[in-house]
Amino acid sequence: MRSPSRLFHSVALMAPALVMVGLLFVYPLVYSLAFAFRNEQTGGWDLGNFAKAFSLYSGDIALTAGVTVLSTVLVGVFAIAVAGYITLGENPRAVSLLRWIYRWPLFIPFVVAAQLMRTFLAKNGMLNNALMSLGVVDPMHAISLLDWRGVVITFVWKQLPFAALLISGAMASMDRSMIESARGLGAGRFRILLEIVVPQVRSSIFVALILSFVTMLSALSVPMMIIAGSSTMITVDMAWRVNSYGDYGVANALGFVSFAMSGVAAWFYLRQGIREGGKPS
């Protein structure tokens, strides 16, 4: 078969799916980006929405950036530790136990994870009860973690298995001869993990962390359910602007900010890709 007609056939087969993504995702995305600059009062285009968004929500924007970056870093550290032990662990029983434990939150929906943490981290939740029983905290000083800390804990709990699954998959498929020779030279496992294994699976770590970063940036239910106070994440602010004021301008300006944050993450990823592509391996 000649290539042009092949391409035509294939595009015809993909057409419904392509049209669906185009109409239901690309179009609203462009719409959102454009209407961030729309002044609904004058009908013109300016930066008014951004000025208003920053004056009202600069604290929340900073909180969103801080929470997602911190959660991503923690997910990265814990996922490398879990995947590293699964790859390098010497006790087969401990490895299979860990493999069985860490995957549980993988398919638990965000909204359910938020509900679990809402009861677990509350002042009368199981965490405080357990710490009180152990005598670590006394009942007078029990604190509720239902603020930005609760969001970080929920994000890490929920995203760790996803990142660990991707990273341990990459570690499992790498060449083990370097690990064995380093072991033969007497290197400790911690050192092998940091100096040999992690550099080789760097691109998988980046993919896992960037997908986690974007997922956490999009989560609406988690901050909605976990954060009780007034400063929250911008997804909740967007929903509030739209549902309470019908103010799509400021909501889209906040949306633009969230796209920009994920754009920064994508830029890091592409730069990493170029660096690795340019290096002979």
Partner: protein, 278 residues
């Protein structure tokens, strides 16, 4: 990296064993603690601070959840209808697309694969609220169709990628044999490729089903006020401070997800799994 010197010392073996047990135990507590707490709440009738455990246990709230006026059963039914419709729509568009993408020599193949990834690569809340705005003018907000379309777009990348990997794992020999025996391309597809790829397609159907069942922000913007799925009902119960109702609904949402996690490897064979996104 190599210039970094890490302390290398050898602790006695039992120290490592104890440390390992402690860390794994801590992880188990961190993962299962919140789940256990939810399970306790589902069978709690009264629990006052600072009691460490419920003061009265029982299933009283279960009958409350399943009463018609609680709305949970309607929400469960709505969620299931939307999820089934979403699966049919997603597979109807993903099977032909996945088949086309399973051919490795397709020009610009990786570009097409990336295009389908777009809905997962951007924060979705801003997109969802604009879909709601567009749907409002089309009369699609507050309808099952509208919510189904939003769910389908969220699940499409997985449906397409898994379908593509499943068809790629089938290989070409059997299809060519059927063609040599005089079967038309469509007949060869229907009688050879499709049945052989069925387990992978089944996995993608379950995946899309779960995504739809759990979807929150799209339903939040597009479904209001008529369409109330289980996650929205749960959020309301939680915000009203009704921990029991929220925990029981959470459990209803949790069961299919956990079952899928335990059985996913039956449906998704390793050769298909390793080809996803490739």
């Amino acid at each position: 990296m190599t210039s970094m010197k890490l302390p290398s010392f050898r602790a006695p073996d039992w120290v490592g064993g104890v440390l390992r047990g402690l860390l794994i135990g801590l992880l188990a507590v961190a993962i299962f603690g919140p789940l256990l707490n939810m399970l306790i709440w589902t069978v709690t009738e009264a629990w006052y601070f600072p009691a460490k455990l419920p003061v009265r246990w029982g299933f009283a709230y279960w009958s409350k959840v399943f009463k018609p006026e609680a709305g949970a059963m309607v929400a469960l039914w709505t969620s299931l209808v939307i999820a089934v419709l979403t699966v049919f729509l997603s597979l109807a568009v993903a099977i032909p697309a996945g088949y086309a993408l399973s051919k490795r020599d397709l020009p610009m193949r990786s570009l097409f694969l990336l295009f389908f990834l777009l809905p997962q690569a951007f924060p979705t809340v801003a997109v969802h609220m604009n879909i709601a705005r567009i749907f409002y003018e089309l009369g699609l907000t507050g309808t099952i169709t509208g919510v189904m379309l939003v769910h389908a777009i969220q699940g499409l990348v997985f449906a397409v990628w898994i379908a593509s990997a499943s068809f790629a794992a089938v290989g070409t020999e059997q299809v060519e044999a059927a063609r040599n025996l005089g079967a038309s391309p469509l007949r060869a597809f229907m009688t050879v490729s499709l049945p052989l790829a069925a387990p992978g397609l089944m996995a993608s159907a379950i995946f899309v089903f779960l995504i739809s069942l759990d979807e929150f922000s799209g339903t939040f913007f597009v479904g209001v006020p008529e369409v109330r799925t289980l996650p929205l009902t749960m959020l309301n119960a939680a915000i009203e401070g009704n921990y029991q109702i929220a925990s029981i609904t959470a459990l209803l949402l949790l069961v299919p997800s956990v079952l899928f996690m335990l059985f996913v490897e039956r449906f998704l064979k390793a050769d298909v799994l390793s080809g996803v996104g490739k």
